[in-house]
């Protein structure tokens, strides 16, 4: 297998995730797009780990998975608080700190 086929797939998924983060207004959907981006990065880490025949890429992918799980937990807690206070998770309405 070519290294590039994994890298290009990962780049495509990353770009789709970027589109999701920018185009979505619902906070839960934005968090899902961020998960997509983190998974694209994980594919890269494991692919490069395989390429240099090292196990380090897999270890870093495991760290990314852990941090992503923590991020989803905190992110959804914040969204829950936002919903409780404003009855909506529409991120374009959360503009309290807009200058």
């Amino acid at each position: 297998m070519l290294l590039n086929q994994f890298l290009i797939l990962s780049a495509v998924l990353f770009a789709i995730g970027v589109y999701g983060v920018l185009a979505r207004r619902n906070g839960v959907l934005v968090l899902m797009s961020i998960e997509l981006i983190l998974n694209a990065v994980n594919i890269n880490l494991v692919a490069f780990g395989s390429y240099v025949s090292s196990v380090s890429g897999e270890v870093f992918a495991l760290f990314v998975i852990t941090v992503a799980a923590a991020e989803v937990g905190v992110g959804l807690a914040i969204l829950l608080l936002l919903y409780r206070n404003r009855r909506s998770v529409d991120l374009s309405e959360a503009d309290l700190m807009k200058g």
């Binding site: 589109y19 185009a23 207004r25 780990g49 992918a61 807690a77 919903y83």
Partner: protein
Amino acid sequence: MSVLGALVAQNVAFGVIAAIMVFAAIRLVTTRNVVHAALFLVVTLGGVAALFLLMGAEFVGITQILVYIGAVVVLFLFGIMLTRTRIGDEEGTDHAHRLPAVLAAALVATVTIYAVVAGFGDAELPADTRTTTAEVADSIFSTYIVPFEAVSVLLLAALIGAIAVARRD
């Protein structure tokens, strides 16, 4: 199976998985139904796990299924249920003007793909990329023991923080 046959099988598997993943990812960021988006996320994350197994990273693949499909997606479904009044097609999931987002995504894709094609032209993965769980464990608990402990504390802090943020007082 001969080496060539295995290589062809690997490439066919990669093509099928990649097509399913890209389709599910595009539907994930375009569907108006939030629950469907969560289910497309399951398909995409399952595809990532399959790619890990294809690359011989068994432990990461299993962890991906356990943590993401087992826990993170359930968390998302709870988030959808707790923050929404209606399940189904919904107005207002997307911004009205999506052209800037399309342009930004296209730019990211173009630059990244150009960079990896220029940088890694036709570099081949080694024929046998399998790694055992024992090797991963040895690496985590020797070379990467400090980051491992740090990430454990981070996870604890994040979970306590999530409870503190979300609880009613």
